[in-house]
Amino acid sequence: MATVLRRRFTICIPLLCATLILALPSAAAAQNGVVTGKVIDEAGGAPLEAARVVLSGTNLIETTNREGQYTFRGVAPGSYQLRVLRVGYRPATQQATVTEGQTVTLDFAMSAAPVQLDEIVSTATGEQRKLEIGNTVTTIDAAKVAEQAPITEFANLISGRAAGVQVLKSSGTTGTGTRIRIRGSNSISLSNEPLYYLDGVRLESGSSSSTLDIGGFGVDNPAGAGPSRINDINPDDIENIEIVKGPAAATLYGIQASNGVVRITTKHGTAGPPRWNLFSEIGAVSDNNTYPLNFAGRDTTADGIANGYDGFCSIQSELDGACIQTSVQSFQPLNEKATRPYKAGLRQMYGANVSGGGEQVTYFVSGSYENELGPFRLPQFEEDSIVAARGSVPDNQRRPNGLEKFGVRANVTAHASKSFDVDASLGFLTSNTRFIENDNSFLTVNGSGTASGYLPDFNRGWYFIPAELFAELATQAANRFTGGFTGNWRPTGWLTGRATVGYDVVNRTDVQFFPTGEVADYPSGPQSNRLGARSNNRFQISQTSVDLGASARFQLSPAIGSRTSVGGQFFRDLSRGAYASGRGLPAGSGTITGAQTTEARDTTLEARSIGSYVEEEVSLKQRLYLTGALRFDDNSAFGQNFDATVYPKASASWLISEEPFFHVRALNTLRFRAAYGASGQQPGTTDARRYYNAVAGKKGGVGTTGVSFGSLGNPDLKPERSREFEVGLDAGLFRDRVSVELTYYNKLTKDALVERDIAPSLGASRSQFVNLSRIRNRGFEAVLNARVIDKPSIAWDLSLSGSTTRNKILDLGAGVSPIFVGFYQRHQSGYPAGGFWAPTVSFNDANGDGIIDITEVSLSDSAVFRGSAIPTKEASLNSQLAIFSGRVVLGTQFDYRGGHLVDNSLEQFRCFAVQNCRGLYDKTAPLEEQALAQATFLPGGGNSVAFLEPGWFIKLRELSLTFEMPDRWAHAFRADRLSLTLAGRNLWTITDYSGVDPEVNAFAQDNFASSDFESQAQVRYWTARLNVGF
């Protein structure tokens, strides 16, 4: 392998600085006092766990344990200020004077406050107070949410808890993934998913991590609704989640950060005896949806039967005199009790963790087991017939969808000295998920149930019967290790340094098996799965990250402070995979070995990036904070002709309420903030390269191997560049019982990478990546938090958050014709990326007979913009009502999304392709429904008429009731704490959408493409969870 040196002076100077700073000798100092105490909730007196106690002037921070206790040992004699911070509480401060050999005890009682600017958040340069940062950062108290809300996967922790963050769950099938968009979509052709860090380690976060062919669309996305790797993370291991929303805030995270950054911090131990927490969760997963009826126009006359009209005698056919509707019948096997392939699945999760430690070492160790059966079940009559024929039904055929996860985590912090500690964060997960065909396929229960043209007298109304559909086995086994070591060094009171080395690796095995003779005869004929087929694809996907940083704080004068930070990162993404498959298996065989035809191939993709930054923050009287920074990046995927890139950042934060002139009684906190920053997104690994691919051939009866043009490449390829300006305010009113956060952002992506079609006549690849377009996202975010009632016995917290996003392609690029996405979507200048375009349908019941015939329907001449495919408005209302001094807590979350359209392709398909929709046959159907059905049969209508509908909805997403048992009950079980939570998810929907569920997407986690087509709708969860603390 050739080695190429890259010399980037600009990048490496900060790296050098960081290294040199970290290499400074430690200053040993005599420190022998102790500061200790307890932190409690002022309202109920309960100890507060996970509060951060900061010993000013030392860089020492301790976290309270479950009893609310903290201890600083070996503190040098002197006067200190102790500041206690916790999410959801007003900070508390006390002075301590430490003398040699003595212990100072300081207890704190904290009062609740919805949002606090003193809260410490993690940034690219280290930990900082929110106040110092000129941009908004959302912090989610994940530990609390996971315990009290119906959280079945990581994405649930985020959903509805951060303004401007959209969690788009594409399907209700257990194990399927999620799209997450922060402040809209920045990129036309690259991923719009945010970056994820766990304890400082960059994570592999593929939003659809699968090669299983379980639906979906086309060669580019054969996998359908695969799992999102981010859901590998056990929500119960997480302490908090911080969401950094855009380039203005994420500049220093470097390349790929333009979509925002999600920082996950797992739980860590605190000094003290071992403290155990156990939980047990049990629940049900059920499908509560109603599916559209399949219609048929019967013509039972002899002519009708002979001419093939029995079942297909449409309104139009009758008008044309081709048949006589003797009756119109309807049926839906997905709705009928006897034929429904659904039954509530059992969800179980058990976990335990222990934390504690001594002065030198603290630890947090956890383990969890999760087992969930999806809502699908073989109908009883089919199970009976299989049992009669074969004696038994395999479990995977009876319950074809489910997942099983086992995870362990060990976080250890070693305090090597007063100035140096090392934190190890190690997590391992093994999971097995059994999928069901999920989108765009007759092999889905949705597709087979809704696309059937038959009446219940054939196949009980199914296209393929569930017994055949469920005989297919599609599994993914994943083993994931995420490990990181972070060294924190505080050689002096003014200097901190850190170094993190992380490795995240997923070993994945995707197996799909069609047992011979047992599955649906699809595709029919010699390629049928029924002849037996199996694929076995194995992948290893890894991310290596190295992060070095150092910060120095100086007080330049009594009024002016300075914080200087430098750092650098290296990332390596590596994906290696091998595919093997065989078709034509002997009956009873479960292996590719011996298959009639076999195929194999492998793939390797690698990308590397390196970057560094320098940041300077200046504070004035601890009220005004000004920050400026530069980030330098280079990446292996840039074109030959492009060098490294530089991203600037600047922000200001002004706590105006602390100014002497500020006197507004009700407004006790007011902060204005503004931030500007740029970030980027790297091209794909080989996007810049011109290359050929190997292809197999045959000549003269002999196999050959050849090469075929693969990609045109682009040697000028560079990262796309997003710059964002955000401005906003944070206000605390009525002694911080009410807080308001308002933000306006304007994000412009320049040089956006466009995978533009190239002229096919070049005989090259389909497309080429070019830096051409400009995309703008702008919008408002608002968060209102209020403690509506604040009494010792009752407290009611409300949080209303919402955002708007206006996405627009300002310029797709000179000479670039509109880019088509999905079924009816386009990227076109002047319109939202991936917006829906289709001709409009007009109709007029000219003869007034209440029937729309095809002559009464017309299409506009061309496709026109119809609306956004992604919600442009979202809002969430979270409520927590705590009564009996917090012993009983009722939580709800309402989730709204709107301002977009949903493509009801299923109904279009049912009208045009399989011809079983109501509008075709039922003369009492609304005229608009008849007109849409008819329009598909106008010339070109089958491919252009889109059934687009407003997609707004309000869902009662979460409902939970938590009982904190009296202490004596807990003590009866020798426990310190006992709580029970009953919770439900996806309980109620209000929408105008006529399809089953406006949330689903048959394109799964595709970047833009969106359609409701034979996907499993969202399912309902009910869970009961018991938490025990020892």
Partner: protein, 451 residues
């Protein structure tokens, strides 16, 4: 295997920085074994790889993809003509069958792009063979590549509207082509075949590549209306000659997708489609063997995947590895018969056709009676061509010639009236140029949609 290397490194200013750069910044080299650098394709072996790739791409676009993700030219053109009816569900394919193909149709885009890729691949391979082979005069491969390229021009001319541009990539140079009219496409094809026939390497040919080029030449001449020249070009081609695209059971990309589609419930053999189509089923002609199932016992053929269209599977290609003719001796005789038709030698034409019916199939087919007049002779010839050349990519071109050359009205040649899955047939007589070609600054779309 390719190693991605970056631009020349900058010299650093100091030893410390250099050391740091080595340790921290020289880490951007990556291994990419899945791609092949064009710079490595400069040897005789590489030229052979280009040839093999071009042949694979040609078979892929002509006969389709066994994975059923990408429709092939014979399938798509057969759908637009009267050979096949659509028996599955994707609307984009149905609109081709219904003669209403939009320029954004994905099936159209795939076949258009892949046909250009096969063309460009054959042209590049021919040049590479000429450049890198030690003795390019001792191989038929160059002539073969030029012939394959010639056939792609023929396909463009026969199946697509007038106005197809032909662009090229050579090294770092990209040349966008100007639109060619239908006649220009056939003329370009003719030049390709003439170049092939002029290759000195044909001296070592066993006849197969020479015959391939001759048949290509004759086909282009036929499309240009030069019937006598076409007939003389193929006079020496034996009737049992055949040059095929070859297929295999695996990988699926190499499978014969005509077999896969027509036996998998996606495309059905048609019968008098839209009134004007030929009776491929009811004629019960062994040249178009077709079969159906009646598993539900209702007395009707079981439907295809759309559950609407009766499914008749084609038996002409019995399995995934069945070869598909590009050009054969039967076509040579048919070209001669058409020259006789053009010379008003109707009885001679029928004799030629009957000779084929006796010699080219077992058991022999019964004789045709002599066509009494020109129109009957045209019907007879084109029917015979349709049955002999069924599912080989000839029929759409023939239907267009019936309009363009023989003066038939499109609505008496193409399927018309009510479509079997509701709606009506449109008016397409060829495939349009897909919208993606607008990225060629010279492209103007179809110059006309005439036959």
């Amino acid at each position: 295997m390719t190693i991605l290397t970056r631009s020349a490194a900058r010299h650093s200013a100091s030893a410390i920085t250099a050391a740091l750069l080595t340790a921290g910044c020289g880490l951007l080299d990556t291994q990419q074994p899945n791609i092949i650098d064009p710079g490595t394709l400069n040897s005789p072996e590489a030229a052979q790889s280009l040839r093999n790739g071009a042949l694979a791409d040609f078979a892929f676009v002509k006969d389709g993809d066994g994975t059923q993700f990408t429709d092939g030219l014979i399938l798509v053109a057969g759908l637009l003509s009267d050979e096949f009816v659509h028996s599955t569900t994707p609307p984009s394919e149905q609109e081709i069958d219904q003669r209403t193909t939009a320029t954004i149709n994905p099936s159209l885009s795939d076949v258009y792009r892949n046909l250009h890729k096969a063309r460009a691949g054959a042209e590049v391979a021919a040049e590479a063979l000429q450049t890198y082979l030690v003795d390019p005069t001792a191989t038929t491969d160059i002539a073969e590549m030029q012939s394959i390229a010639g056939f792609t021009y023929v396909y463009f001319g026969e199946d697509f509207c007038s106005g197809v541009p032909f662009s090229s990539v050579r090294g770092d140079s990209i040349t966008f082509g100007q639109p060619q009219t239908t006649v220009e496409m056939f003329t370009t094809a003719l030049a390709k075949f003439d170049s092939a026939l002029a290759q000195p390497g044909l001296a070592v040919d066993d006849g197969s590549i020479t015959n391939l080029a001759l048949l290509g030449r004759a086909r282009a001449l036929l499309d240009l209306g030069q019937y006598a020249d076409a007939a003389s070009a193929v006079a020496a081609v034996p009737t049992d000659f055949s040059y095929d695209t070859e297929h295999a059971d695996s990988p699926q990309r190499l499978q014969n997708a005509i077999w896969s589609y027509t036996n998998g419930g996606l495309w059905s053999v048609s019968d008098a489609e839209g009134g004007n189509g030929l009776p491929y089923l009811s004629a019960e002609d062994p040249r178009v063997p077709a079969d159906s199932l009646d598993d539900d016992g209702d007395g009707f053929a079981d439907p295809g995947l759309d559950l609407i269209t009766p499914q008749y599977s084609l038996g002409k290609y019995p399995d995934a590895s069945s070869p598909v003719p590009v050009a054969d001796g039967i076509e040579a005789r048919l070209i001669e018969a058409e020259a006789q038709l053009q010379a008003n030698n109707f009885s001679g034409m029928t004799t030629t056709l009957n000779d084929l019916r006796h010699t080219a199939i077992r058991p022999a087919l019964p004789n045709l009676s002599s066509a009494g007049n020109r129109e009957a002779a045209i019907d007879q010839l084109f029917s015979e061509r349709a049955f002999w050349l069924y599912a080989t990519g000839h029929r759409l071109g023939d239907m267009r010639r019936l309009i363009r050359v023989y003066g038939r009205d499109a609505e008496t040649v193409f399927p018309t009236g009510a479509y079997h899955k509701n709606g009506t047939y449109g008016t397409d007589v060829n495939l349009p140029i897909p919208v993606e070609e607008q990225n060629n600054p010279n492209a103007r779309g179809c110059l006309d949609r005439n036959a």
